[in-house]
Each structure stands twice: as structure tokens, then as C-alpha cells.
């Protein structure tokens, strides 16, 4: 496997994805006036950070060999519930705590059902996600109200600043969060078990890894970070919107895959996902800047995902697996 092509190792894939992002940025700067102005860069960083938070869970789940389609629904759930409760006069910390706990329960259920009954997580997370969204819609009668506290809005505001830094606190916070996620994946027993479980589920129990426990914990983490993204998006857009998470369904998967993770599990890294997030954000900004319609941007995005993955995400031929 190794050495067969340039992108064979995970590290090379991550570096490759970062290079693609840098090239896209250079192309944007050359083609579009104002592409690299401080405001434009800040806007891209904020958008990328939001997607990066939403993609944490998808990264963990994909490394483990699963997939989480409930992320957009949990984002919408957290977005609406946080706004509604805060609007009803609840203490915001209490609101966040409650939303976090509920998200963890939702995610834990995803993992428990999928693993203990050995059902495709695709179906389970989709079904649970639909139930969650339905419950939220029912509760708010389809018209969510409320807003985020000023603190959350300024935390993610494109015009905000973090002390001396000309970016909102979201961006440095994400850098710290990224370091934590990387540390957890690389240097904790949980992280090593996650990779092992994704790499060979059949060997995991003999290596003292409890698959059900791992799936419950990881899907719970995924839902938790989706909820965080939902609350942050509330601050970003200013008002609650149940479908705010929908673009994140495929974007999180795309970011993880462009970042070099294999959907069969055992491979990938959060740094890779960050690179994937940057690539996606650059493509989006670039194409919209070039005057493409959103529909054409979407088509181009699909094309580029296929192109990138065919460069370094190819699977082995069946004859190589015998």
C-alpha cells in the first residue's frame, strides 16, 4: 500500500488537502478583486469554523466505520430549542446544559440501536433525526421564535474581535478545540480504540474494546457537537430556523472525505477534516464570487468531491483483499 502513490499515507492526504485549499485561495485572489480583503477572509474563517464544529462528530463516527445523518436535524433541534427557551426567559447556561444533555441522549440512542442490533447507521440516524425534527416542529408549531443572547452573537460575528485578534472568539476557540480533538484521537485510549474499532470490528472485542460502548459514546459526542454548532448558528443568523442544519448533511460528509478519511473506517483525522472544511469553504466562496448561481456551485462541488476523492480516496480492488 504505502509508497504506491503520492497520497498513500494519511499525512500526505492531509497535506494534499491543505495545498488544494491554498491553491484555491490563490486562484480566488487572482481572479476576484477583494477576495483576500480582511473582511472576506474573516467571513470565510467564520463559515469554515461553523462547518468545522459540525464536522467533529462526523469525523469521529466515520473513523469508527459509521455515518451520522442526524447531524443536520440535531443542529436544527439545538438551534430552535435554545432560541425558544431563552426567549421564554430561561437562564442561557441552563438552556445550553439542557440542549447538550438532550443531544447526548439522542446521539447515544443512535449508537446503541445501530450497534447492538447491527443495523445500518444510515437508516437509524435518518429515522431518529426525523423524529427529533418532527418533535421540535410540533413543539414550536412550526414557527420557532426567540433569539440568541448578545454574547453568542458577538462570539461568532464576522465583525467581532478576540482581544487583539481581528477575528471573533469563535476562530481562536476552534483552534483550541481542534488541538483538543487531535489530542484525544492521537493520545488517549479512547482515540486509539476508535481507530482500532474502525479498522477491524471483528478483532476489536478480542482487544478488549467494547463496540457498543464505543458507538454510544461516539454518536453521543457527534450529536453534542452538532448541538454546539446549532447554538452557534443561532448566534450567527440571529433567529431560530429549524432547517438551518440541512446544508450540513452532505457538507460534513464531504469535508471528512475530502480530508482523507475512508468511510469504511480506521482512517482519517480531524486535521484532515479541517483541511476539507477549508477546501469546501474556498470552493463555495470562489464560485459564488465568480458569479455562479448556487445551483451551479452545488454541481461544481459535487464534481470536485469526486475529483479529489478519485485522486487519493480509492479503495482496493477485490483481488487485493483476498
Amino acid at each position: 500500500m504505502t509508497g504506491r502513490n503520492l497520497f498513500a499515507t494519511t499525512n500526505a492526504r492531509v497535506i494534499g488537502a491543505f495545498c488544494v485549499a491554498a491553491l484555491l485561495h490563490a486562484a480566488g485572489t487572482a481572479l476576484i478583486p477583494g477576495y483576500s480583503t480582511p473582511f472576506a477572509v474573516r467571513a470565510m474563517l467564520v463559515l469554515a469554523s461553523l462547518l468545522a464544529v459540525a464536522s467533529i462528530g462526523q469525523t469521529l463516527v466515520v473513523i469508527m466505520g459509521g455515518i451520522d445523518l442526524s447531524i443536520p436535524f440535531v443542529i436544527g433541534f439545538a438551534n430552535v430549542v435554545a432560541a425558544q427557551l431563552y426567549g421564554d426567559g430561561w437562564n442561557f447556561f441552563l438552556v445550553c446544559g439542557l440542549v447538550g444533555v438532550l443531544a447526548i441522549i439522542i446521539g447515544g440512542l443512535n449508537g446503541l440501536i445501530s450497534r447492538s442490533l447491527d443495523i445500518q447507521p444510515l437508516i437509524v440516524t435518518l429515522g431518529i433525526g426525523m423524529v427529533v425534527q418532527g418533535l421540535v416542529l410540533l413543539w414550536t408549531a412550526g414557527f420557532p421564535s426567540g433569539s440568541a443572547p448578545q454574547a453568542v452573537s458577538s462570539f461568532v460575528s464576522i465583525g467581532g474581535s478576540a482581544g487583539p485578534l481581528p477575528v471573533p472568539w469563535l476562530v481562536p476557540s476552534l483552534v483550541v478545540l481542534t488541538a483538543c480533538v487531535v489530542l484525544v484521537l492521537e493520545r488517549t485510549p479512547y482515540g486509539r480504540r476508535l481507530y482500532a474499532l474502525g479498522s477491524n470490528p471483528g478483532a476489536a472485542p478480542l482487544a478488549l474494546i467494547d463496540p457498543v460502548r464505543m458507538w454510544v459514546v461516539t454518536y453521543a459526542a457527534s450529536a453534542f457537537f452538532a448541538a454546539v454548532a446549532g447554538v452557534l448558528l443561532l448566534g450567527f443568523t440571529g433567529s431560530a430556523y429549524g432547517d438551518v442544519g440541512q446544508p450540513y448533511l452532505f457538507q460534513t460528509i464531504a469535508a471528512v472525505v475530502v480530508g482523507g478519511a475512508a468511510l469504511v473506517g480506521g482512517r482519517g483525522s480531524y486535521l484532515g477534516t479541517i483541511a476539507g472544511v477549508l477546501v469546501l469553504t474556498e470552493i463555495n466562496t470562489l464560485l459564488i464570487g465568480l458569479g455562479f448561481q448556487p445551483s451551479a456551485v452545488q454541481a461544481a462541488l459535487g464534481f470536485i468531491i469526486v475529483l479529489l476523492v478519485s485522486l487519493y480516496g480509492r479503495e482496493r480492488h477485490v483481488s487485493a483483499t483476498i
Binding site: 500500500m1 489530542l183 485510549p189 486509539r192 480504540r193 474502525g198 479498522s199 478483532a203 478488549l208 474494546i209
Partner: protein, 257 residues
């Protein structure tokens, strides 16, 4: 997780693994055996005659139909009721199918070695690469593992070296009893002899070994005592002078030697 040192060789309290009235299949007569420390016991038999099931029951991977398996150990041990209990009591198990149940192909040699004993390298919850490396080096020398880059994927190693890494993973648990399911399957001859020496050394240090092998030569070469399985029962127990190819084969086919 099995955080104790090996018992002193032949410690007087340690009486080994006691198997009492173990029934491995419906209608089969119960098996009573004891695996003593320092002993290498072979399991032989035609494929599917119960020797693998017996080994898996000792590892807690299959529920017995009757009887009990108790690890008698000073300051530990206990009744084997499941795989985790077996491991925490002091039993390690090396599976047969390396690719299906052994290696984690995308993971490095070091990861593959340490995966069962991750908590031993942690400092404040974080794995210390240095501690892990030190631990790995002990077994690398002991098993003469040839891995130029321990941070490269395990699939870059030869089959024999992959097997050594898996054995190192099992030994890292510091078991009192080591269960080996066809440990030299698909391993080259040179590596086999390294493994044989390792097994003998482990027994000399007081570990009890149970080896299932599909090759009679290997059993004759290694084992002090052989249990020959036929129709889910121990058809013969052969030791000492009478342990010959003929006697084992006769028992396998159900003929009187």
C-alpha cells in the same frame, strides 16, 4: 485490567487453571483437567472435534454447557464467566485467523501491540509514546520482531512478524495462562522456531500454555502433554514416552493405540 506481575516461577499457591466437569457439546462427557504453571499442553484432533471450542471456553469466548473453569491464582484469578473476566483473571488468548480477528490493518505496529493494554501507558489520561515504546521494545527483543519502522502500518510486516506483534499484544497482558489457537498458521519456518523457543521460555518462567495446533509435529516438539479430541470429548490424554505421532493419530481417528 490484570494489573499484576507474573507469579514467581512455580509459586506454591498457584495451582493453575482448573477445569471441572466441562461439557462442550450436548451429550458429550464432561472434561476435567488442570493446566499447571510451567506446563505446555497441546490440543489435537481432527477439525471440528471440539478442541477449538474447548480453547474458546477456556478464554471465556463461548459459554460452557456445564461445569466450571476456575483460575486458581494468589491474589487474583477467579471463575471464568466471559472473555473480559478471563483476561482480568490472568488469561490471554491468541486468535487463529490473524486477518479477521487479530490485526488492525490501518494501524501502526505500536498501536497494534498496545491496543489491549492502553491504560498502562497513560500519564494523566494521555498516552505517553515514550512509555509505550519502552514497553514495546521489551517484547521486540524477546520475540525478535523485525519491524524497521514501528510507526508504520502493521500490514508492512511479514506474516510471521505480524504474528509476533499479536503475541506481544497478548504477552503484554502479563497472563498466567496463555491460550494459543494455531499460533504458527501461515508463519515461515524460521519464525516458527523463534516462536517455539519463546513458548518454551515462557513455560520455564512459570506460565501455563495451551496450544491448539493442526500440526502433530509441532505438538510433539513443544508439548509436555496432549489432549486429543474426538466427538467433543477428550478421547486420549498422552504424555511422556507414549507421546508419538502414531499414538496421537490413532487417538484422533478413534483407534486404540
Amino acid at each position: 485490567m490484570a494489573d499484576r506481575a507474573l507469579p514467581d516461577s512455580g509459586g506454591s499457591d498457584f495451582r493453575g487453571l482448573a477445569i471441572r466437569d466441562l461439557v462442550i457439546a450436548p451429550g458429550a462427557s464432561p472434561i476435567t483437567q488442570a493446566i499447571a504453571p510451567g506446563e505446555i499442553v497441546g490440543l489435537a484432533g481432527l477439525d471440528g472435534h471440539g478442541q477449538e471450542l474447548f480453547l474458546k471456553m477456556l478464554a471465556g469466548l463461548a459459554p460452557p454447557l456445564g461445569g466450571s473453569i476456575v483460575l486458581d491464582l494468589p491474589g487474583g484469578g477467579g471463575k471464568i464467566t466471559g472473555f473480559r473476566k478471563a483476561v482480568s483473571s490472568g488469561i490471554a488468548y491468541l486468535p487463529r485467523d490473524r486477518r479477521a480477528n487479530g490485526i488492525f490493518p490501518t494501524q501502526s505496529v505500536l498501536d497494534n501491540f498496545a491496543v489491549s493494554t492502553l491504560s498502562r501507558d497513560t500519564r494523566l489520561g494521555l498516552i505517553s509514546p515514550a512509555a509505550r515504546r519502552v514497553r514495546y521494545d521489551i517484547y521486540r527483543k524477546k520475540l525478535s520482531i523485525v519491524a524497521p519502522r514501528p510507526d508504520a502500518p502493521i500490514t508492512t510486516l511479514s506474516g510471521g512478524n505480524q504474528q509476533k506483534v499479536l503475541l506481544a499484544r497478548a504477552l503484554a497482558l502479563e497472563p498466567a495462562i496463555l491460550l494459543l489457537n494455531d499460533p504458527t498458521r501461515g508463519v515461515d519456518v524460521a519464525t516458527r522456531h523463534v516462536l517455539y523457543d519463546v513458548f518454551r521460555g515462557l513455560a520455564a518462567d512459570g506460565m501455563g500454555l495451551v496450544i491448539l495446533s493442526s500440526e502433530i509435529e509441532e505438538i510433539l516438539l513443544l508439548c509436555h502433554r496432549v489432549l486429543v479430541f474426538r466427538e467433543n470429548e477428550v478421547a486420549a490424554e498422552i504424555a511422556g514416552q507414549s507421546l508419538t505421532t502414531d499414538s496421537v493419530i490413532s487417538a484422533m481417528f478413534g483407534r486404540a493405540a
